[in-house]
Symmetry: C2
Subunit: 247 residues, 2 copies
Amino acid sequence: LALEILSNIRVVLIHTTHPGNIGAAARAMKTMGLLQLRLVTPKYFPHDEATARAAGATVILGNAQVYATFADAVADCGLVLGVSARSRTIAWPQWDARGAGRHIISAAQNAQVALVFGSERVGLSNEDIDHCHGLVQIPANPEYASLNLAAAVQVLAYEIRMAALEVAGVETTAPPEHVPADAQDIERFYEHLRQTLVDVEFLDPENPRQLMRRVRRLFNRALPDTMELNILRGMLAAVDAKNAKSR
Amino acid sequence: LALEILSNIRVVLIHTTHPGNIGAAARAMKTMGLLQLRLVTPKYFPHDEATARAAGATVILGNAQVYATFADAVADCGLVLGVSARSRTIAWPQWDARGAGRHIISAAQNAQVALVFGSERVGLSNEDIDHCHGLVQIPANPEYASLNLAAAVQVLAYEIRMAALEVAGVETTAPPEHVPADAQDIERFYEHLRQTLVDVEFLDPENPRQLMRRVRRLFNRALPDTMELNILRGMLAAVDAKNAKSR
C-alpha cells in the first residue's frame, strides 16, 4: 500500500490542557496511519493519562517532539493548516475536512505538511492563525459544534487517509464476495416456486394476480448466489416431497 | 437547513464497558446532529463519567433509552447496520464509512435506521450480526485499526452528516469572501512594479530576464483583491516618493 506520503504529515497540538486528549489524539492518528506528533507547550506531558488513552499508540507519544513556540513546531513545513471551529472575520483560505484531506495529500507530495489544533478551551489564537496558510473546518451541527480535540483529530486524520487511498486508487469498500447466480438459474427457481405454490394451493393459476411479480421483486433485490438458490430449491423440494406423500 | 432526516437515525451501543465512552459518543453524535441514543445492557449507566465526557450533549444521555436485548433496541428500525473492525468469514453486505453514510441517509427517507456499535473489547458478536442487514467498516491502518468507540461514532456520524448535506445540496466549504481584483487592475500593478524596479535599478530594462514572469506567477497564485492591490501600490508609491527625493 503506497501510503508513505502520510509520513510527510505532522499533527501539531498547541497548549493542550488535558493530557488524556494528547493520548487519545495519538491513538486517533495511528488508526489512520499518521505517526508524527508535535506538541507546543502542553500543560502536562508526558503524563499517565496520555499513556493510558493512547492505548496501542504509545510509540507516537514516545516519538512526540515538544516545542516552545508554534513557529518552531512548523519551521520545516511547506504547508500549515489550522483547524478552526469558528469563522474568522478576515478571509483566510478555507477548506472543509474533505477538501483539506485532498489538499494536504496533494501538498504532501512535495512538502512537509502541518495540521494544527488549538487548545481545548480557546482553539487557535489570531497570532497562531498568522502562521497558517489556511484554515480547516469540520462541518458540524451549528447548534453544538464543539468536537472533542481527539475527535477532531480523528475526523481529519480519517479524511487524510481517505484522500491518500483515493490517490493510491485503493478501493475501500471490499467488493462483496458474493457472486449472484445466473439469470437462467434464478428463472428455474421462480418456475419451481410457482409450481410448488400452485401445488400447495397458495397460488391460483386461474387468478395469479401480482404474486409472482412481487416474489421476483423481492428476490431480485437480494440477488441470490448459487448456494442460496440451492438452499431455496432444497426447501421447495422438501415441500414437494411432503405434499406428494400427503396426496 | 433541511436535516430533519437525521432524526430518523439512532445510534445503538451494545454492552459498553466504560461509561466515559457513552458520554463521549453522545458528544460526538450531537456535534453532527444525531440525537437518539439507545443503550443495550451498558455496564454502568447513568454515570458521572458519562455526564462529564458528554460536555454539552448531556441532553442526549437524558433521553437515551436502555434495552435488555439487541432485538428490542432495533425492533422499530427498517435498516440495521453494524460497525465492525474485523472482516467476517460470511459475506455480509458491506459498506465503508462514506458509502454507509450515503446508504443510511437514503434509507432514512423511508425508515428508521439503527447504526450499531459493539463493546470496546469484543465488538459485535456473530449473534449481534445476525440482526444486522449489513456491516460498516472504517478504512483504518491495518497495523492498528483500533479506533476508540467514541472516535468511531464520530467518524460515522460525520459521514452521515456529510451525506445529508450532499442530499440537501449544502456547500460545506464556505466560498472564501475573497473577490480577486480585475485583471486590468493587476496589470496596472505589474506595470507600476516594473517601473519602480527599474527606477531603483533592480530591474535592468535592457536585460530583464525572467523577473517579471516570476513575479506574475507569484501574484497570480495569490490572486490579490482590490484592497491588497491598493496596499501593494501604496508601497510602490512610497518607494517612488522616497526615490524621487533622493535624486
